[in-house]
Symmetry: C2
Subunit: 506 residues, 2 copies
Amino acid sequence: MTEAPRRRRDRSPAPSRAGYGHLRHPFAPQGAFSDDEIANMHDTALKVLENLGIRILLPEARDILRAGGALVDDDTQMVRIGRDIVTAALNTAPRSIRLRAADPAHEQMFEPGAALFMAGSGCPNVTDALRGRRPGSRESFVETLRLQQSFDVIHMHGPSAEPQDVPIHQRHYALMQDQLTNCTKPLFVYARGRGQVEQSFEMIRLAHGLDEAGFNDGVWATTVINSNSPRQLDIPMARGIIDFARAGQMTLITPFCLAGAMAPVTVAGALVLQHAEALAGITLAQLARPGAPVAYGGFSSNVDMKSGSPAFGTPEHIRANLGSGQLARHIGLPWRSATGAASNTADAQGATETVNALWAAMLAQATVTVHAAGWLEGGLSFGYEKFILDVEALQTLAELCRPAAADTAALAYDAIAEVAPGGHFFAAQHTMERYQTAFYAPLVADLTNHGLWVENGALRADQRATVLWQKALADYTPPAACIGIADRLAPYVARAIEAGGMPPED
Amino acid sequence: MTEAPRRRRDRSPAPSRAGYGHLRHPFAPQGAFSDDEIANMHDTALKVLENLGIRILLPEARDILRAGGALVDDDTQMVRIGRDIVTAALNTAPRSIRLRAADPAHEQMFEPGAALFMAGSGCPNVTDALRGRRPGSRESFVETLRLQQSFDVIHMHGPSAEPQDVPIHQRHYALMQDQLTNCTKPLFVYARGRGQVEQSFEMIRLAHGLDEAGFNDGVWATTVINSNSPRQLDIPMARGIIDFARAGQMTLITPFCLAGAMAPVTVAGALVLQHAEALAGITLAQLARPGAPVAYGGFSSNVDMKSGSPAFGTPEHIRANLGSGQLARHIGLPWRSATGAASNTADAQGATETVNALWAAMLAQATVTVHAAGWLEGGLSFGYEKFILDVEALQTLAELCRPAAADTAALAYDAIAEVAPGGHFFAAQHTMERYQTAFYAPLVADLTNHGLWVENGALRADQRATVLWQKALADYTPPAACIGIADRLAPYVARAIEAGGMPPED
């Protein structure tokens, strides 16, 4: 073990095995509950919807549900949805959804069995070792988009860090311009009211020269719909469900049910509430437009009983993830999960939280796992170092999505015969033919011995990650598919801003 | 989410839910290879043993194998073992093994389906934030034993850190005295030659007042047998297999096959070599005494191609773990896996490595997972902070070994009915009845918000862990089952040392 590695170190580094752009789940789905218990949760959620109902603040959404057969009380804004209506909606929801992308190589089929990752999203702040923790800005939004673009294990763009230096009535222009001019993977559009959504869709059409038919051919925009648990859907969220459905764009309908806070203190109870709210949203989408692309969303965890903060990577979060996958399979829809970290910094706690939740999402066969890289403080900060560390974890699992060779050559009988007892395989023909691509090449992990590690400054992984995100940003070059888009969008945005912008909807 | 948690913080902390002393695997076993591929690996390993053979340095072991029908060449020390001999050995190996312990509550059934954890073992050095990295000493050995004793998620004692300040011909006395006087879980005995093993067994009998029959009633001592891959078994290891088998004590027969170094560069090839070597050891044990307690051991990973160091938590390590579990199930034996970290410090890399490997061991249904807490630098250091951080990961997975409640009360329909839309569950009767034990209470994870975290010193998880291992050592009290043992052992050890001690066998 002493001679050959030194020789090998003199050679050029092993070529990257990246190629994580399209992944299928390698594991059999695992559950946290029995099939009967899951059927019981589904049934209880249906009872919640038909007996207790859900409060829907948007009159238009209540009208659509009323027309679909739901019992609506406009005074209390309560809507009770019979199980036949939900069942019919589940029958029209598509099982397989084509996600379009500026670069056709980055298109995805969003369907059960596919494994997609989205970076940490929705963070008001950003943090890195060089510049500290600060409110998200347009500059940091662009940087975090470029980081997402730079690693092919990130499959969909998320609204990583909120550009808080852009006024709220103009922010959607920035969110779209920056995604469309820097990135080529499936895009995210916030559902912050009809006006902003329509303008965001228009910017996609302008950027890619799409007519209405082209825009409707597959999904060009995805959004997340969070209900206001328990049992409430606010105006922009309800509007988003309707508008995305009518435009043939995708909604990830995701209650955020924290057991013990906005949801029952038991994981099973939190899942019942999550399921009821997700089914209500899916039903609204299907009534707005049968066949609308929707995904079941699960983002239930527990609150920490000491601090009241959301917890991630805990046993309860893992169970909720596994149970959500079971519920998604019960209704047959593709689904969105999430990892996450409550840690305030990119330390061992943060890694344990994210990696635990990531394994849970993989075993639960999440179609897309959101917040998979860069999420700190339960989503209050996007961490640059955390992003790099999490990409390593994602790449490790992505490697497992490919089958390992086990043919006669891989079983290596001849190599075993060639090497004498007590010898080594460094120089074996079998090794020489394969060593350059045999193993995953670590991104940030440092496997040098302790002496050399000390000599090199005794850096922690998060400290090494600082170098790596800087390098990724320095190496970033605008993708060919983005050329010309800035020019096509600029006049539209200028006119829109001159016309006063577009405030979000409350 | 603002009011109730504050109220709750004023109360006494939630009682611990510890009770991780006896765990059963919660997941369906997962694999990295098809059943056909596993059968093919098994067959190829048998071909290795019958055609190529294994070099066995101990004449007594060769004689036992020769008597069992193997073809032996004493000049080359090569032993070729026919598949009928291996098959017969697998038929006599027990499927279920009772591990005895000083405290009967700490006994374990070592059998498929059981999930046991052993702390990081065999480390020449120790490291902690207060005293730095240093060679293992008797003091640190005792401390790390007490840490193992303090957390019930650690099920078997491992020889954490080598007491290098004790001369090698007396070290086994220290290893046994310190385990027997500080700990009450199943013990470890090094296989460092017949003399040391016999004396170690005698110390167990003395400590617990066991006669020969009592010592043979279940397993009082466990050891790890590492072959000298490729295809070689040295004298102390072969002697250990024979002596433990004859004494009815347990061997974990564990080749350490690093793909690309002492094993073929492919995971499948490394597993073939591992399997052949493990089968040879198991066969020797069963020929020495049919029915001897043995476990299949898998500890294959890859070498890092940049540094030549062993890698852990990598895709290759995960696959090797999953494949080892498949091979163990193929032959029907309980088996030993391992986690591990190559990181030089208790950072995000170390956490990612250990947690990845831990999930792999769980999905592979390892009977015991060794190095599960505290292993750094690929085993060159036992880290006190790392131990605490890993215990958190173990406890998280241990929680999943209990089924989650999903009865009518857990589904919480009434609680959902009670809480108004948009409200919260903090004060719900359902919550009040359960919140104290509803969730896992973190050991080291800090879920306070960023402001409070900064106020409290912005400590990383590893920094908080420093406080926790100190507290565990301060809180340690000698278990009742250890009382009197020191006095029973002292005269024996004094006499043995006076007689010159007992050197290990080369």
